[in-house]
Amino acid sequence: MAEEVKPEEAKAVEERAMTVFRDERQEDWGAIILSIILIILMLVVLYAMGLDPFKIGKVANPLQFVK
């Protein structure tokens, strides 16, 4: 930015940006990497549960206890 930026202004925008990342690009890569990790973990857990991930089947939401 060419104009002077006050530290409190920068902080307010940072807070509104709702992110811990340096910029959008880093956050985007973070989302891609997290997705890959989640997919690998999911496959490991499904195999550990004795399920075949690639066959038709069902699993329950681990966060939902009330049916």
């Binding site: 925008v13 709702m18 690009r25 956050e27 891609i32 690639f54």
Partner: protein, 379 residues
Amino acid sequence: MAEQKSLVSKIPSMIPGAILLLIITIISINGAAYIGPKEVFGIPKFFERVVHLNYILWCILIGMTIRNTVGIPSWAREGVNLSRLFLKTGIVLLGSLYTFEILAKLGGIAAGLIVFFVFFSVFMVMGLGGLLGIGRSMAGVLGAACGICGVSASIATAPTVRAKMSEVGYAIATILSFGVITMFLSPFIGHWLGMNAIQYGAWVGTGILNSGQVLAAALAFDPVVAPGHAVAIGEIWNILRIVFIPVVVFVIAIWYSATLTPEEKEKVGRVSLGTLIKEKFPVFVLGFLAMTVVTSLGVFGPAGVIPGTKASTAMVALRILMTDFFAIGLVGLGMFISIKEISATGGKPFYIGWFTGFVKYVLSLAAIVLLSSVLPTSY
């Protein structure tokens, strides 16, 4: 490298907030499952059918209540800041709800609407900004915010129009405040008009200004994360819109530089579309497309993308993952809605942003109603 280290060093401080988001999500999901089927005033499933209070609205409302009563505890701040990462991760995984055939089928219709409404909003803000004299920097970031997606687009546009951080913050606050109203109002309008998933998804994906709020409005209408449901449609529109960020930044940069002196132009530097695409293209969209490729190739077994067909265990588990990640992210979104901040916003840019947002919201609804005979009813 130093910044990577600082991100890694932040991880311990993110954990308490992330756990808070998770606890609120568990309460919301189970609270909605418990209260949803209850009979009130003799009406079965009152909260689901009449109030449309599903787990997504619970997540946002609990998040908002915390923010506007006790505030975000300082120990939870870093973890709550992970919200956007969780939402983007959910959107990457969402690519598994489509095949390229479906994207091509809906993408054509979506592209026409998106191109029209994105540039309509950008030029409307610029025009009104010129008439009311709000300054070109402010008009530039506000135009991008109203045209595409408040947070990402205004931040991306700021350097090219030499906007101050306060102007970026102002633009973000303006469109987020408008979005809060539309996020809660849209599901009621959608149900009242008897819209199907494609009509509703297309409308909120076009008419709501912020990506997180598009997601929230789609899930509030229909909380199911599966092919053919509102979230699957709304996100096609939303992603197409986000892809336009570099193009919109380019157009705004040309408009802005038209009034500069040769010396000022030299200071700002020459902007090329190629450079903007390289620097500003939202790369998480590539992750979304990679998931669509994987689904189209059947890597995870039967995708169950066509209604009536069954999905593999991995695909079902992926949809549960998306549901949970969206819920956790939307708790965070609720925690960033400050009624005090919204009510403190005012002035000409605020009214221009709200007016443009309102016109876009209403016109996009009218366009979807008019196009309802052209839009498919399912895919």
